[in-house]
Symmetry: C2
Subunit: 220 residues, 2 copies
DNA sequence: AAGTCAATAAATATCGATATTTTTCTAGCG
DNA sequence: CGCTAGAAAAATATCGATATTTATTGACTT
């Protein structure tokens, strides 16, 4: 479902609030992979009714963050190195596709939004807000693909990837890569409308992160 | 979510019943694309409570058959030629990928299940049961990809395609293609483990159908 | 007339209470 | 002792009623 992009804050429905909270808790690992998600328990935790919780969980099913088994409730989607490998592979294929379509029909607005997203990302240092900006930058790359479903898949997979990043980051979070430079490179290639180069840079960015994360995921 | 594969019949939960019925109604066009789906109305139609209906609709969101707008209910996913084109394109990419992975690690069981699925499909003539067998055959091709998410995507897209097939079939359903022969060809190539040939045959099968359907979809 | 605002109607969202189903526990049996 | 049947506990699923929100209508201004 992915509501993240709505005008933030505001008074939203209880379901939406529950959806956002639960989504966040699963992505950050506050609700561990595979964990049974009991309605009553979550209801108290989020201080809301059972209906919103239940509906939020149903919705999270779309994002592959929650599994539902008829008549026996919900659980946080399990995590495994195989699953992570699958996500990485799919992301590479789908983002490559979306990226190329985006560049193929590039427009000034697309380019400007991309530059803007990159700029905003550079400004932000606080972990939480950087995460959001980082996603926005990556989605801005794909935003011109004229393929809403494809973008939705990419967005879903992006989130699933973040989840693994969080699951892995229990160990020391040291990486000797220069992420900032990688982003600059991606942006530069995109602005110059070089699909091959952008794709190479982007996939390399993902694969390097993927390899690193895989090495940290021994405990799965 | 896609529960279709569960052991059929049986006493299921009300939610599951509603899910199946609504899914069917959307796929067949009984609930037209874009239509507002009012809880009360469906509740009476399915003779069940509001909660199961609501939950079923939330679940159908995963399958991209229903859209949900916070605080103003649900509607059947809209249909358009653009959307259909998108589905076709994604199917070709994803099924190609799944198929190749399937063949790359082919096993006797996979092959046997495939042959079986094909045989069953040939037996069946009744429209409804043929549809099911047809899907099972196509999914059997991909069943060995070792990539559950990929298979899920393919399954979803397959269903969305069926929906367009039904939307299009208002016109006379005449096609001068020999579908049976196309299936034989796909099966033969797969059994001989020729990934390139199978992929070519499969994608051609899809693209031919796609072109035909597109021509019928003028009224969208 | 076009536009606005309030009142009404309709629909959605949510709650609290039960009915059902699954899981856990335990005592009796082989 | 391990196993199974059945009771008790826990959790899920569902209902019916109500609170909120959105959509509609129509009178009133300019």
């Amino acid at each position: 479902m992915n509501i993240m992009d709505e005008t933030s804050g505001k008074e939203a429905s209880a379901t939406r609030g529950a959806y956002m909270s639960l989504r966040d808790m699963i992505l950050t690992g506050a609700l561990p992979a595979g964990e049974k998600l009991k309605i009553e328990q979550l209801r108290k935790l989020l201080d809301t009714g059972a209906s919103p919780v239940r509906e939020a969980l149903s919705l999270l099913t779309s994002d592959m963050l929650v599994e539902r088994i008829d008549q026996r409730g919900f659980r946080a989607a399990p995590a495994s190195t195989e699953n992570f490998a699958e996500i990485l592979k799919l992301r590479c294929v789908l983002e490559d596709m979306a990226l190329r379509q985006s560049i193929a029909s590039a427009t000034p607005e697309w380019e400007e939004n991309l530059v803007l997203a990159h700029h905003r990302m550079k400004q932000l240092t606080g972990a939480a807000s950087f995460e959001d900006a980082h996603k926005l930058f990556h989605m801005a790359l794909l935003a011109n693909s004229s393929s809403p479903m494809l973008e939705r898949f990419c967005s879903q997979l992006y989130d699933l990837n973040i989840r693994y990043r969080n699951l892995a980051s229990s160990g020391r979070n040291y990486q000797k890569r220069d992420i900032t430079a990688e982003h600059e490179e991606i942006l530069a290639c995109a602005v110059r409308r070089d699909a091959d180069a952008t794709s190479t840079a982007l996939l390399s960015h993902y694969r390097l992160t993927g390899a690193y994360l895989t090495s940290q995921l021994v405990n799965l």
